[in-house]
C-alpha cells in the first residue's frame, strides 16, 4: 500500500466519521425545542425526495431508463409490495427493457 493513499484514506475516514458521530454525542435527544424537533422529524422524508431526484434520471445515459425504473418501483411499492420485491422488480423490468432496446 502506498503511504500517501493510506494517509488519504485515513483523512477521508476521519472527516466522514465526525459528522456521523457528533449529533449522537452532542445531543441527548428530545431536549430540543418542539419546532426544531418537528424539523428533524421531517428530515427523513425530505432527504428521500432529494436522494431520489434528480439522481435517478442519470443512472444511464438514456433518461427513460431511470424513469422506467422509478415508475416500476413506485407502482410495486404503491401496491404494497415488500421492499425486496420492489428492488428486484425494478431490476427485472430494466433487464427486460435493455434486452429489447
Amino acid at each position: 500500500m502506498k503511504p500517501e493513499i493510506v494517509w488519504m484514506i485515513a483523512g477521508m475516514a476521519v472527516v466522514t466519521y465526525i459528522p456521523r458521530m457528533l449529533p449522537f454525542v452532542l445531543f441527548k435527544g428530545k431536549e430540543l425545542p418542539a419546532f426544531l424537533q418537528g424539523i428533524l422529524k421531517n428530515v427523513p422524508y425530505a432527504t428521500l425526495g432529494a436522494l431520489i431526484f434528480p439522481g435517478i434520471f442519470f443512472i444511464q445515459e438514456d433518461i427513460w431508463y431511470g424513469i422506467l425504473g422509478a415508475a416500476a418501483a413506485f407502482i410495486a411499492a404503491f401496491l404494497g409490495a415488500n421492499i425486496i420485491v420492489v428492488i428486484l422488480g425494478a431490476i427485472a423490468v430494466l433487464s427486460v427493457y435493455s434486452y429489447f432496446f
Partner: protein
C-alpha cells in the same frame, strides 16, 4: 431479568438484520462497480478494501477515485469528502431523536454505520430505534459493502454488462420503496419529498452547489417550510376554536 433483556436485544438485532437485507442487495452493484473502478484507477486490493471499510461512504469513495485519476492533491480530496458527507450530520441529528437512550460511546459506535441507506431504513421504521436494531442493520450493510467492493475488484469486469446496468437502479428503487408507504399514509410526507426533490433538481441543474450541499440545503428548506406551514395551520385552528 437480565436474560429477558438479552433476549429482547437479540430479537431487535435480528429485526435490524432483516431490515438490512434490502440494503445488502442494493449495495451489491454499487460496491462491485466501486471495486472495479478502484482497480482501473490503480488502487491495490488492500487500498480498495481499506477505503471501503474505513471510509464506508459510496459517493465520496467514487469521487475520490475520479479526483485521483485527475491527479488532485490529497488535501483537496479529503476536503471534498468532508463536503459530500456533511449531510450525515443532519441524518444523525434526526435519527438521534428516535433512538433509545444508551451510553454515548455505544451511540458513537453505531454512528459509524450511518449512511443514506441505513438512515432511511431506520428513520421510516415505526416506533423507537433500539441499539440492537442499529447494530443488526449496520452489520448487513457494512458486510455487503466491504465484501462486494473486494469481489468487484477481483471479478467485476467479468459480470454481464446488462445486469450491471439494470442493477444500478437498486438503491433508488429501495429509496422509493421506503418512501411510498409513508406517502400513502400522510399528505405531509408527499409535500416534504416533492418539495425537497424540486429544490434538489433546481440546485443540481443550475450547478450552484456540489451534490452534497445540494442535498443538505434542499432537505433543510423542505423540512423547515413544511414545518412552518403545519405550525401556522395549527395556530389558525387553535384560534378558531377559541373564537
Amino acid at each position: 431479568m437480565s436474560e429477558m433483556i438479552l433476549q429482547k436485544s437479540a430479537t431487535e438485532f435480528r429485526r435490524g438484520f432483516q431490515s438490512g437485507i434490502s440494503i445488502g442487495i442494493g449495495y451489491f452493484p454499487v460496491a462491485i462497480t466501486f471495486g472495479l473502478l478502484a482497480k482501473t484507477t490503480g488502487l491495490s486490493i488492500g487500498e480498495t478494501l481499506l477505503m471501503s471499510l474505513a471510509v464506508y461512504a459510496g459517493a465520496a469513495q467514487y469521487m475520490s477515485l475520479s479526483l485521483l485519476a485527475l491527479g488532485t492533491g490529497i488535501f483537496e480530496i479529503i476536503l471534498s469528502t468532508f463536503i459530500v458527507n456533511i449531510r450525515h450530520f443532519l441524518m444523525s441529528a434526526s435519527l438521534n431523536e428516535k433512538t433509545e437512550d444508551d451510553k454515548p460511546f455505544v451511540k458513537a459506535l453505531y454512528a459509524f454505520g450511518i449512511t443514506d441507506e441505513t438512515f432511511s431504513v431506520a428513520a421510516v421504521k415505526e416506533g423507537t430505534i433500539s441499539t440492537g436494531y442499529m447494530f443488526g442493520l449496520n452489520l448487513v450493510a457494512y458486510a455487503s459493502w466491504g465484501i462486494f467492493s473486494g469481489v468487484g475488484f477481483l471479478i467485476g469486469s467479468s459480470l454481464p454488462q446488462t445486469l450491471q446496468e439494470s442493477m444500478s437502479v437498486a438503491l433508488y428503487a429501495m429509496f422509493i420503496g421506503l418512501l411510498v408507504p409513508s406517502m400513502k399514509k400522510s399528505m405531509k410526507v408527499v409535500f416534504l419529498a416533492v418539495l425537497a426533490a424540486c429544490f434538489n433538481i433546481i440546485f443540481m441543474s443550475t450547478e450552484l452547489l456540489s451534490s452534497g450541499w445540494a442535498i443538505v440545503l434542499s432537505t433543510l428548506l423542505s423540512a423547515i417550510i413544511v414545518e412552518m406551514i403545519v405550525t401556522m395551520r395549527h395556530k389558525e385552528r387553535g384560534s378558531g376554536h377559541e373564537a
